[in-house]
């Protein structure tokens, strides 16, 4: 892809990025940070490409390290965000929480 197209895409992505988070309530700042954190784990795609072109053992080793790190970022990021968000449930109660209250009485 030529430079100008990439520049166009980059600039448009900046605006989308600004726009999409500009009105978030502070309640969701932590999950949002964590979700954005997971998204940059997509560097995994780059790591896979580099590892797939490696011919020397040293290059392959470094590339595989990048794959491991990127996967940790991607998978861990989405899982931890999901765990945080699992907890925003509104007024419904879980069985275990009700049980805890029974026990407490």
């Amino acid at each position: 892809m030529d430079g100008i197209s990439l520049l166009t895409i980059t600039v448009l992505a900046v605006f989308v990025g600004f726009e999409v988070v500009s009105k978030v309530s502070s309640t969701l700042h932590t999950p949002l940070m964590s979700g954005a954190n997971a998204i940059h784990g997509i560097i995994l795609v780059g790591a896979i490409i580099v590892a797939g072109q490696a011919h020397e053992p040293l290059v392959l080793a470094v590339a595989l390290l990048a794959v491991v790190l990127a996967t940790a970022n991607l998978v861990g990021g989405f899982v931890v965000t999901d765990r945080m968000l699992e907890m925003f449930r509104g007024r419904k109660r879980t069985v275990s929480a009700d049980k805890q209250r029974e026990d407490a009485r």
């Binding site: 980059t10 309640t27 999950p31 954190n37 997971a38 995994l44 996967t71 509104g90």
Partner: protein, 457 residues
Amino acid sequence: MTLLSPVWTALLYLASAVCFILALKGLNSPRTARQGNLVGAFGAVIAVVAVFLSVHLENIPWIVGAIAVGSAVAAPVARRVKMTQMPQLVALFNGVGGGAAALVALLELTHSEDGWVRVAVVFTLLVGAVSFAGSAITFAKLQELMTTRPVVFPGLPIVMTLVLLAAVGTGAGVVLSGSQALAVGLMLLGLVAGVLLVLPVGGADVPIVISLLNAFTGLAVAASGLVLGNVLLVVAGTLVGASGTILTRAMAAAMGRSVAGILFGAFKGGSTAGSTAVSERPVRSSSAEDVAVLLGYAQRVIIVPGYGLAVAQGQHTAAELAEALEERGVDVDFAIHPVAGRMPGHMNVLLAEANVPYESLKEMGEINSEFKTADVALVVGANDVVNPAAKTTAGSPIYGMPILEVSQARQVVFLKRSMRPGFAGIENDLMYEPQTTLLFGDAKDSLTKVLGAVKGL
């Protein structure tokens, strides 16, 4: 052999990018946040499948193995981490992402002949390394492997300037020569710069730095996309870079600070470095039974939870206390300061985990006008976020930070472990006011006693 034509690949990358945008969009509202995150994960799966099908890859068994190792390490940790330790985990994941971007750029340098591509390589190397090292230090600070206070030594600004100048010089060398040895040197300089950048940041400012480093990693990923000519990396990285920047500013604004002030404040000595001295001034302390009477016969109680509640794992007890009071007809709300806990919104997550209904969690702007109608403000393990010094004492490290106006409530009850000052290390004059009562002890123990006493009323 490749199964997908470039057009199909481009379409799959587009679908993946759309998923990421929808994910960030979904995270704007509590109702759609969880689906949003899942859409994001789906987008990532599409992208990974697309790369396997569209690029001629060697070493596929190795790559699949490495992905399996990364998942096997990260997923269980993310599943099991305590919610109080989540900020440092996010810092860790962010750091490894930055490290991965730097390594990708390092290896891709041999394939880049074009000067501008090499500039992108240099940017990725440097920013990725800064993010990696900076995140490692924030992790160590939040995990309390090292002091949470700012670490400053004389000459730090000079050292930092020298490192950055050396990095610029080395970067120029890399662009001109394409030397991988110089690139490794640049990466090492980036690591040093990352450490130096975060060391002087302390206390409540650490989470803002995580967010900033998150944006950095995004930018590094975007630059690596330019290096590889991969549109998806450019779009996803830029999205994170842009949204991370906005988020960082929003967090800093919630604390009444500027991002530059946080990063460079300690260089001038005006950061959140405080004292741990214990004051000798008299305070009014009281028993759990007295507090229970105050709460049980009030009409309106506002609970202000802080990090102390979270470390004591007292969220569940706080939720039960709120419920017991509501059963008695008391109107109970939770007032959440934007930076309560260790990250903005962290306290909401902790309370949501304890099944406090989302509707009872009130944001600062919403609840501040209601303190004057409250009979009791119950401050549990919070200190800095209710400290009037933020409004009145111009020299105070937290001066300018918006606070919860608990002093306007008729009675203020502090549940505190000791008279030690809070995270920012500043004394709180509110504790010596006549309307203030203190109940000393671990937040969870105190809450349990108060809860028992309320039930016995």
